[in-house]
């Protein structure tokens, strides 16, 4: 594993140029260019603002703690987009990069890593849009706890890398993975507190006459590592409070475990890639 990580570090030049290439290629030929990295989340933010403030006001999600709702929802939606796109791209990475693995002497693990990082850069490019909206809605600015954000980002990065490696290796052998993943991500999205807050589900579960549904959901939320990652975003940016000191480090530890297992798994199947892609 140590070898694996140092390997990734050794290829940082390659990873860096591939991430750059990925970003350049994505917008090459479009008039808007990089502007799309800002425009996409901006337009999405506008749509959601209109939908959730005037057309459709989710009655139960309107707790006092999640106002203004578009800002709340966007706080979690942007990193989720990073996460979901990372896993989708990573699962495809070895197949689309098949030429490289087959024809060049090429470290295959670089490909899923590039998928995760390139989408991470997208997230970071979208962040200023969010902040501008933030200052429009809340002129008082951000709390100092926003400084915890790098830790949250790091946790998500490690988790995405681990899952990305596993998915990339599996998708080479079982192309069905890509379709299964697309559906799993949809379900996962709703089982992560993005369009609702975790506190809201917990409150439901703790009600005296609560049915088993919110209880099960609350349980699942607790076991979902993305819950705590998204929670981290909510706390450090939206609520401006200290991140959860117990849950986030545990999640980070779990993320590292996933990465170790993921790398081991990837390494184990590595030799089969050139023949299968």
């Amino acid at each position: 594993m140590k070898h694996g990580l140092s390997n990734l570090f050794r290829h940082r030049g390659l990873i860096q140029s591939l991430v750059t290439r990925e970003l350049k290629a994505r917008y090459r030929g479009s008039v808007g260019g990089y502007l799309w990295s800002f425009l996409n989340p901006l337009l999405l933010l506008l749509v959601y603002t209109i939908v959730f403030t005037t057309v459709f006001t989710p009655p139960r999600a309107q707790g006092a703690d999640i106002e203004p709702y578009p800002l709340f929802m966007f706080c979690g939606l942007l990193p989720w987009t990073w996460f979901a796109a990372s896993l989708t791209d990573a699962a495809n990475s070895l197949i689309t990069g098949g030429n490289l693995i087959k024809k060049l002497i090429f470290p295959a693990e670089v490909l899923p890593v590039v998928s995760v990082l390139a989408n991470g850069v997208h997230y970071l490019l979208g962040l200023p849009v969010y902040l501008i909206a933030w200052f429009i809605f809340k002129p008082q600015g951000l709390s100092v706890h926003v400084l915890w954000l790098p830790l949250v980002l790091f946790t998500q990065l490690i988790l995405s890398l681990g899952l990305g490696l596993i998915l990339a290796a599996l998708a080479v052998h079982f192309r069905d993975i890509r379709d299964i993943l697309a559906n799993t991500l949809t379900l996962w999205f709703f089982l992560t507190p993005i369009i609702y807050s975790r506190a809201f589900i917990q409150a439901l579960a703790e009600e005296e006459n609560a049915s088993w549904v919110p209880k099960v959901v609350a349980r699942v939320l607790d076991l979902n590592p993305m819950t705590h990652v998204i929670d981290g975003y909510h706390l450090s940016i939206f609520e401006g409070s200290l991140i959860n000191w117990k849950r986030l480090p545990v999640t980070l530890a779990v993320a590292f475990l996933v990465l170790i297992v993921g790398y081991w798994f990837f390494d184990r199947l590595r030799d089969s890639f050139p023949e299968e892609v």
């Binding site: 290439r21 490289l100 087959k102 002497i105 090429f106 052998h173």
Partner: protein, 476 residues
């Protein structure tokens, strides 16, 4: 490495007892594999090869420092697999490969290019992929671009390049990596003449600078010209290795034998098919039905022809027909020693021997021979009547030989029309395209026949001293 001056250099590439097996798993099993992998929880076992194809079988090979090694062999012999194993893009199933130094593999040129971004950016990324640092690429950038002759296009997206430009850029990046070991897999067949020469020059320059080169090629000419040693691979193992001319010659002889075997099998199949009709009818009844059956045999052969596996189909309908009063019982193609062959070197003697059998005496007959190439062009045709041999009589078994002292047909496959017929053309036995032969040549001349010729020169014209055949043969 201080001791290198005292000890003979260790091999740069050492391949020891390498096996490579590819698994053949039908895609129908895939879902089952996933299911059992999940249910049984034993993914690695589920992915272990069940049915395998052996691409390399116990290959051992040392390539010494500064050596240029050529690998030849027919398709599927394992040449490319060997190269991939040495390059490290494929792992051996068994055995070990050690490489001392950096490797650059020209397996597929421009494999890492991204179509959307410019040539310039691709050069950088490709260079980094192949193991250079960004600074090293920057230092070599101008050389790379000028070698590829793409100065005017380097900032255009690669998707706008022609395939030649693409290959040139790919080749240029790969050779500017300055590897210790350069692996080349059949990539010299790209680009125009001028660029191929440039590539060959570049390879020669590598050679001069003492780099180790492994060249996989079907171009025996390039192998002969560039390599110090040649390995001939057959069915996944090394058949022979050694001096280029010797090994290439052995390989060519093997190819000729193989082709001969195929042609012989084809002839036997065809004549067997052609005889079905005659054999069934000959003991039976009179001439009429026999004629019909021979016709039938002819069409049967013709119908079978398209499926006849092997060495090229007749462009005109092959077949056999005639009244059967006289039969061509046997056709043999003989060399100077009287041995039967189907492959002849251009310029060698060939004798066409026909065994005829006349059931009753005939006095109106001619024996004709026509040679057709695969385009259906009659390269030469003649018969005994045209050549003013007045027919006397023919009865019982007779042997007719046409001796050709020099078979001056260019390299290719040829079909023979063989006939015994009346002088007015009414056929006794007409065999069209049932006999094939091949000519081989080391000279790639064109046309139909190789006219006997000699070059002579006077005045201010000089030639480099080349091979011994250079004086009177090579019209290139």
């Amino acid at each position: 490495m201080a001791a290198t001056s005292h000890v003979p250099l260790a091999p740069v590439v050492r391949v020891v007892n390498v096996d490579k097996r590819y698994r053949k798993v039908a895609h129908a099993h895939r879902f089952l594999t996933l299911k059992s992998a999940i249910v049984g929880g034993d993914l690695f076992k589920a992915l272990a090869p069940s049915e395998v194809f052996t691409a390399l079988d116990g290959v051992s090979l040392d390539i010494s420092h500064g050596e240029t090694l050529g690998v030849i062999g027919s398709n599927g012999a394992g040449k490319s697999t060997l190269l991939k194993i040495i390059a490290g893009t494929a792992k051996p199933t068994a055995g070990t490969v050690t490489v001392d130094g950096t490797i650059s593999a020209l397996i597929e040129l421009g494999a890492g290019f991204h179509p959307e971004i410019s040539g310039r950016e691709n050069v950088f990324i490709n260079g980094i992929m192949l193991g250079l640092s960004r600074r090293q690429v920057a230092e070599r950038f101008d050389d790379i671009v000028s070698f590829a002759e793409l100065q005017d296009f380097i900032d255009a997206p690669v998707k706008t390049y022609s395939s030649g430009m693409y290959m040139r850029l790919g080749f240029s990046v790969a050779v500017h990596i300055e590897p210790d070991v350069l692996l080349i897999d059949e990539v010299l067949a790209v680009g125009d003449e001028a660029f191929v020469h440039k590539c060959l020059d570049k390879i020669a320059e590598f050679k001069r600078r003492g780099k180790t080169i492994l060249l996989v090629s079907h171009s025996l000419e390039s192998v002969r010209r560039l390599c110090d040693r040649v390995v001939w691979m057959k069915d996944g193992s090394i058949e022979q290795a050694g001096d280029p001319p010797k090994i290439i010659d052995a390989y060519l002889q093997w190819v000729a034998r193989k082709e001969e075997g195929e042609l012989a099998a084809g002839y036997e199949r065809r004549s067997a098919a052609a005889e079905i009709g005659t054999a069934a009818d000959a003991p039976g009844a009179g001439d009429k039905s026999a004629t019909g059956s021979l016709d039938g045999a002819g069409t049967a052969v013709g119908a079978q022809e398209p499926t006849g596996a092997g060495s090229g189909e007749a462009p005109y309908e092959a077949g056999r027909w005639g009244s059967q009063q006289v039969l061509i019982d046997q056709v043999r193609l003989l060399d100077a020693q009287g041995a039967q062959h189907y492959v002849f070197a251009c310029g060698d003697p060939m004798t066409i021997e026909l065994t005829l059998r006349a059931k009753e005496e005939v006095d109106d007959f001619a024996v004709g021979i026509g040679v057709f190439n695969t385009d259906g062009v009659c390269c030469y045709g003649t018969n005994t009547d045209i050549e003013r041999l007045g027919a006397g009589k023919l009865l019982g078994t007779a042997i007719v030989r046409m001796e050709i002292p020099e078979l001056n047909l260019i390299e290719g496959t040829y079909y023979l029309d063989l006939a015994v017929h009346r002088i007015d053309g009414y056929p006794y036995d007409y065999q069209r395209g049932l006999t094939q032969f091949r000519t081989t040549s080391t000279i790639a001349d064109i046309g139909v026949a190789r006219l006997p010729h000699r070059w002579s020169f006077e005045g201010g014209i000089e030639w480099k001293k080349t091979t011994e055949t250079g004086g009177d043969g090579s019209a290139t």
